[in-house]
Symmetry: none
Subunit: 222 residues, 4 copies
DNA sequence: CATGAATGAGTGTTCATTCAT
DNA sequence: GATGAATGAACACTCATTCAT
């Protein structure tokens, strides 16, 4: 180290920032390519080229290709979780919070359809530890929705459904826009897709006495 | 050779049978390995070993690895379609036919969980023609369900839902048992999973005046 | 053997004839393909297909691919030798016999240009014995020419040239039509090529006192 | 690194030099093996072993086996052209320049007999573009000879022969030392081969009035 | 920190050859 | 004689990974 004029901790912080930037740069490049072509069809050289760096550099920031793949998926899921949390905001009504969370999931996935498929496609080639980390992350991402459903049940607004089953149903529905985009893409607008599924899901669980209160969410099923 | 008087077409049939048997043998081996490890992680040598034949032989029956992969997926989907059709039987009531078809899908997928994931994971690496063939097949497989929903709407038994959206919702739900088995597997029995989702789906669309007739399908949501 | 009514030796002769026919059939097919694509690019399967038989059958008539290749080259060279001998006829004048032999070589090679290149291209992949056999054959094929030159020298019609050098010069010239066809093919008609080279060669060696006698062969160099 | 002040272009030049050295190293190894065994009988692994590097490295410098083969042939022909040009020197007399060029060709080919055969044997397996490049190169290589013959005709020193036919005759004669070395090698010394053919060729075309001037080139045919 | 040349194990694929029928 | 299914060694080529600079 030639320059000793910088305080160690400041240097570390600066380095940490630079390190974080590099990681993000590499993750973005890798995510773009892997989402488009599938991780096995993306060479480390291609990632390096996309990021505008040399191959060797990737190994300073990631342990290897598998590690990079896992980091990519984690970063994708984390960004999903963040966007969903933001989408819900501070809606106090549990039922409307369910609808908001569902819409949030749907929008995020519609925005990053290819990225959303990554986890489905590639988790098989992750090691058990990586797979477990992913599951934890996904459960966390689902948490806002699970909490909203629990609240709605506790508040007597909806029937006493099996909470995880119902919540994951909504999650899978959001995912299905990506998974079956070849089917839905040409048959229904995304906004209608979200509205229809919101109506279907709520129609299934709303107590008769609360249906009127959410008529706007039930649409034609009101 | 039992007899030299055998008619040529019988001989051809015998050869055809042998050829068909080999194909099936190879497809089975490939399906097992690819379902377990993912096609990119399965070498042709591994498939040959699993099938107990030499590598070269695979190329007599399939054009290459991609062709083999596609044949595996097609054969899986075809067997799914056949089993679903059989599961429905000749139920005359459209609503009960929906329930039967859904249960059929769920059971098939529960039986062959790993195989069901193949199409999701690997279709990215198929050529456009292959992908298109797969989509056609999946649409065909969904047909019984779509028809049942259409009949139920026409008969005025359920509300006027968007048929493909509702039908694919059920399909995705069936698939979700495989896609999220790490989650559901330890939290709910498959039979309960099917019953809960049947109840949820029907509860969402049954007209108030017909709910009583299908109370057995609605379970706790009746 | 069902039919025992045929005398053994007649049967053998018939069999020999059939065997010969098969060999020729296979050689023709192999020669066509190997001349066009080069022996390494021709599979045994391709030869079998071209000949309309099964792969296995080739191994009843030839020891393997190398043996087949050698047989092909030998058969080509033999047919060349036969055609050259025929072309010379019974010309009594040694000088005109040189010209006739040279023209014969040239014509044969022009007729079967691709076949003529086989020996040049493929002899490297023959075993020493095969290579030696080929050399013997080529020397035999050159014999009429060597004899004619020797006679012309002995008769005092041409200068005392180094016979093999001069004869092989003519042979190589004939071959050069095939070897450099990409060059000559678009620049000179084959008849002119032959005439020009006949004139050049004879002009080099004819004694002054005999030039007039062969003015027709010397053309513009007369 | 002698100095860190080295200008960028110097660094680039150093790298270019290293790259060039590697290419040459690989070309030399490939040329040696392919000339000896024929390109189809030389595996990339064998080339790598011969060059003392790993297989993968070859693909950094050449596009593949075909590209390597073509590069080998091109490099051989280029070195031939260079040596021939050098051999001719600045001989002013057109006839003597013909003799010098011919001798140059002969010597180069005698020196690198095996390499000279490469183009003949392997050009069939080149793609059309590669073949075309080779033809261009060969025409360039022949240029000094063609020019010399043209000059000799224009100067009235030799008869009005068909220039390309006569020039290529000489070229083919030079090549024939390599093509038919199994024949000539044991029958005539290379120096005599060159002298005899020089005499033959000039004897064919020299005008009577100039023969005396070149008696030294005509040898026994004077 | 950053580069990219170098490695070598591993891949999909071909094909000469054999042999049961 | 004739077939063609089956073999398995060999090939060209790729790419994750390392390390000298």
């Amino acid at each position: 180290m030639r320059s000793t004029a910088v305080a160690p901790d400041a240097a570390e912080a600066a380095q940490g920032a630079r390190t974080g930037a590099r990681r993000r740069q590499l993750l973005t490049a890798a995510a773009r390519l892997m989402a488009e072509h599938g991780s096995p069809n993306v060479s480390m050289q291609a990632v390096a080229d996309e990021a505008g760096v040399s191959v060797g550099l990737i190994y300073r920031y990631f342990g290897g290709k598998q590690d990079l793949l896992q980091a990519v998926i984690v970063s994708v899921l984390e960004s999903f979780a963040a966007r969903v949390t933001e989408a819900i905001g501070d809606e106090p009504d549990p039922v409307r919070r369910i609808a908001a969370a569902f819409a949030g999931y749907c929008d995020v996935i519609a925005d990053e359809r290819e990225a959303a498929l990554l986890a489905y496609r590639e988790s098989k080639s992750l090691d058990p530890a990586g797979r477990h980390a992913l599951m934890e992350l996904e459960i966390q991402t689902a948490q806002p929705l699970v909490a909203a459903v629990t609240d709605a049940v506790d508040a007597g607004l909806i029937r006493a459904v099996n909470v995880p089953v119902f919540a994951y149903q909504l999650l899978m529905t959001a995912h299905s826009w990506a998974l079956k985009h070849w089917y839905f893409g040409t048959r229904i607008a995304h906004a209608d897709f979200v509205a229809d599924h919101t109506a279907l899901a709520l129609s299934a669980v709303l107590r008769p006495e609360t249906r009127d209160r959410y008529a706007d969410l039930l649409g034609s099923l009101a």
